[in-house]
Symmetry: C2
Subunit: 323 residues, 2 copies
């Protein structure tokens, strides 16, 4: 089975672990490709930082910090303390020492002229991830947030301001002229199943689908496209997606996010959608909108639950395949 | 008193501390400018490394590792271990975590378009060094070593091969078209005394003097130019300068190094030269060659001895001034 997952960082990483775990118990050959958001990426003190790619890599490699929820386990911040002493960088954005090892490696590859997708392949080859990671694009497409007073990089709005400055709009800078990284379009076109991880719809999945040829590939793939709601019972599972959704006029609700993505039959990207049992009442609305809906437990509290959720997503896709 | 010192790394740093210490006890206003070798500089995993500038800065700031002889005290190598695990960089060249903080800061400035001299001024402003550090040039003039089989960067020859591969020649790549960094020529022209630190004559002082306008400034300054021998009793004080000297056909001897630099009266750069008491017999030879010579204890075993040596250099310069 060939599975392609559009994914953001932490939530996507947990979901990908579930997909990988779930496939272990199934007979046959399987491959998983993650098409990863690059909208959070940025240059910081001369380093290229790719938070979502790294969150996924660290999680799949089992070297992530589960307690803190991001970065490497056993991390230290000796380099960051030096940068602070020299007065460079952003003092609200911590770069761990182990993490800097990754950023330096990536940066050296990029500075040598390697595209991000190739650098990512070389870097992630360090661990047997079981998932092929491809950045959505090799272009620098960074998400910026428009607020009443200033426009800033998404990371600044998210990490420094904790998404508390009302966002008026999100700009996926450069997305219109960007093209998919090598391997992305084929991974979507030739997949048996395309999944949308329960990542932030506005700043994780949104920037991926804003790249014209990726959106076109999702619209035209023969594979069923199934998404997992990042909203449960009207609240975000993690992060501050509500602050993002409200900026684009989408209510923080499992059905609203699905209809924001839209049914493929109506020009959108979704064939199916998974919502939590607490949102069961929304299923008929979604079905009426042309989106096949499964009502299942969405909380990925541990690996077995993540695997079960992945299985539910694959089951819905199989049902759609049969149509 | 305005003192300008041409300097390499570790030995130069120790000498500069001595100069600074010596001036503390003298009345009046004093300023010390170090014109620092950049021949050892290099790009490594996307970072710009400037070993001599850093050795001097750390030593003057009192944060150097005196036991190991280079780098920062209390250093760790967590980032380096990551780079190794990713398979990038040179595994024989260790980058400490604290040191990487400096390199990242410098690299971010350079990537933002700042010349090295300006980046150095901003970085060294962190500590009250008592000495103004200026790289000899803002151009990338790197020393390469020609051996029988290959030509390599000086750092590789020095650190990886421990200078054990016979060197046939040294190339100061780009020196001919390089120009002095802002402040260097004025520091030499307007100095009361120009000193050559007891640094490696071939790969520390040599690359500085290979920059045409710096050499011209030293040749034409009205200040006495006094050097300190890096050779004592036919042996190098530290490092492997003998392997460098033999490559250019200069014996490892205090008089040979001085005549290699040459007397200013004969088109060279030296007015005076300090040799160790164990080399006292060489003084007449040097005087006959037109180089005023002082016979003094040269070993900088501690700060008081370094200060005394600096005082001896200043005394010789004062004597030459009186001529």
């Amino acid at each position: 089975m060939k599975i392609t997952v559009l994914s953001g960082g932490v939530g996507g990483a947990r979901f990908l672990r579930g997909v990988h775990e779930n496939l272990q118990s199934r007979p046959g050959e399987h491959s998983i490709t993650a098409v990863v958001n690059v909208g959070d990426d940025m240059w910081l003190t001369g380093l290229r930082i790719t938070p979502d790619l790294d969150s996924i890599m660290y999680t799949l490699a089992g070297v992530n910090d589960d307690v803190r929820g991001w970065g490497r386990v056993g991390e230290s911040e000796r380099v960051s303390a030096e940068l602070k002493a020299y007065g460079v960088g952003w003092d609200w954005f911590t770069l761990g020492d182990l993490d800097i090892g990754t950023h330096l490696t990536r940066t050296s590859y990029l500075r040598a002229g390697m595209p991000l997708s190739e650098a990512t392949a070389k870097i992630s080859a360090r661990w047997p991830l079981g998932v092929t990671l491809i950045p959505a694009t090799d272009h620098e497409v960074e998400t910026h947030v428009v607020t009443a007073d200033v426009t800033m990089h998404f990371q600044e709005w998210w990490t420094c301001y904790r998404a508390a400055l009302p966002a008026l709009a999100f700009e996926y800078r450069g997305s219109e002229s960007a093209v998919a990284a090598p391997g992305v379009l084929d991974a979507i076109a030739s997949a048996d199943i395309v999944l949308l991880a329960p990542s932030n719809p506005v700043v994780s999945i949104g920037p991926i689908l804003a790249i014209p040829d990726i959106r076109a590939a999702v619209l035209s793939t023969s594979a069923p496209v199934v998404g997992v709601s990042p909203i449960i019972a009207g609240a975000v599972v993690r992060g501050m997606a509500d602050a993002c959704l409200s900026a684009i006029g989408v209510p923080t609700a499992a059905d609203a996010v699905a209809t924001h993505f839209g049914a493929r039959s109506g020009g959108g990207v979704l064939d199916g959608w998974l919502i939590d049992e607490s949102d069961a009442a929304l299923a008929p609305i979604l079905e009426a909108a042309g989106i096949a809906t499964a009502v299942v437990p969405l909380w990925m509290r541990d690996l077995p639950l993540s695997s079960t959720l992945a299985g539910d997503a694959l089951a819905l896709a199989a049902r759609l395949h049969g149509r």
